[in-house]
């Protein structure tokens, strides 16, 4: 089935035991598009992103990137989990930036970025380091290339996390509440980097509670509630949509109450 969307999620279903966390989620992202997912805590946003990178298996529906199904291959009518090498290759096509950074603490900033370049992209050491320095420079950390993560601030660590993901030249970048673990004064420097990447045409699917940022950085906003997509709107129509969607309205009201 041909699709012009880079990421095409259809009827995605996922349960943890008896608890159905995702119920028939439909969502697509085109090349160069920035889509932001918002929604109350526990609505399944993280799980959705993890499924796209196959950090989590899913039970029903499909996730396709450039037409290729993530995590499974169809063997006649049977759906089979892909092999380890296949999975790893697909994961390399989707960059992930985590709320908790997940940098490798025993490696320097440059080595964190180089690891995937060396082992997955098979770059020689010198070239891998050049690419790493390039991306660290782009996130404003050229001078911290040889620092260990433990020597960096939270905002700096998260920027290394972004550099590590984008250096692999993924088709799509997934960002899960990447500023939630940061002190407020460090949020801005990380969001600036994301804004830059968006400007460069990087395709992104992100989850954030920074509603103001979501509004001015994304092409579409997806509101999730109870494991379902409850609304999809262009950013400038978020308020209008809230007038018709009770849950969205009550969700947004919590932010305007604390926005000052």
């Amino acid at each position: 089935m041909a699709s012009e969307h880079l990421l095409d999620i259809r009827q995605l279903a996922k349960s943890f035991g008896k608890h159905q966390v995702l119920k028939a989620v439909d969502l697509h992202v085109s090349k160069g598009e920035v889509v932001t997912v918002i929604g109350p805590s526990g609505s399944g946003k993280t799980t959705l992103l993890r499924c796209v990178n196959f950090l989590e298996t899913y039970d029903g529906g499909s996730i396709r990137i450039d037409g290729t199904e993530v995590g499974y291959r169809n063997d006649g009518p049977q759906r089979r989990r892909r092999g380890e090498v296949d999975l790893a290759r697909m994961r390399a096509e989707t960059g992930m930036v985590f709320q908790s950074f997940n940098l490798f603490p025993h490696l320097t900033a440059a080595e964190n970025v180089m690891l995937g370049l060396r082992r997955v992209r098979k770059k020689p050491k010198r070239e891998a380091r050049e690419i790493a320095l390039h991306w660290l420079g782009r996130v404003g950390l050229g001078h911290k290339a040889d620092s260990l993560p433990g020597e960096l601030s939270g905002g700096q660590q998260q920027r290394v996390g972004i550099a590590r993901a984008v250096a692999m030249e993924p088709k799509i970048l997934l960002l899960d509440e990447i500023t939630s673990a940061l002190d407020p004064e460090l949020v801005g420097e990380v969001l600036d980097v994301v804004r830059q990447l968006a400007g460069d045409g990087m395709t992104m699917l992100m989850v954030t509670h920074e509603i103001a940022f979501a509004r001015d950085a994304s092409h579409r906003i997806v509101f999730m509630a109870d494991g379902m997509v409850s609304a999809v709107v262009p950013p400038d129509q978020l308020q209008a949509a809230a007038a018709e969607n009770d849950r969205l309205r009550s969700f947004l009201s919590r932010f305007s109450a604390t926005a000052h």
Binding site: E93, G95, S100, V120, G150, M168
Partner: protein
Amino acid sequence: MEQILYAIPFLGHGLYITLLVSAIVVALSLFLGVLFGVGLVYGPWPVALMVRIFSDCIRGIPILVLIFVVYYGFPQLGLNMSSFWAAVLALTLFKTAQVIEYVRGAIGSIPRGQMEGAMSIGLVFSDRLRFVIFPQAVRRFLPPWINGVTDAIKGSALVSLLGVVDLMQAINQVIGRTYEPMPLYLLGAFIYFAINYSLSSLSRMLERRYSYIRD
């Protein structure tokens, strides 16, 4: 005193056997323990269950009983082996079970996010272990493991029970001729102590070396 000097080459050979037994046991149990330990943590449930049963059973048996079970039991299963290899096998089984637990503890101390970070950049399982998990886990693994190596050296004295002439048995045999137990046992104690003290010093040095990784 003279007699002790006279016995030194004989004791030297005993020490060689002690070190040989210890080295084989330590090397084999390290290899098997890491393999099974990874199976316990990351393997599919049947593998994890089998490793769990193996480890719990072995650790639930006194090592002395294990040695006799292997020495007397295995030939009845048609597996004949010399007392040397029976002793080595029993000690290896025992040590492997310990290494499995050290590996489980060390890997378990690494936050889940490390594996996921490594997955997200597309590393295959073996690379995730080699470049991300093991370099961090080794710091937790080394102190108990080196402790376990000193246990293995001390524990190797049990092979004397099967008539293998290691340092302990050599000392016993010299005493059998000289009837001077105290100086010889003191000498034996000193040799075991010297070996193990150097090992624990090494362990402290390694711990300092890995202390740069913050928690």
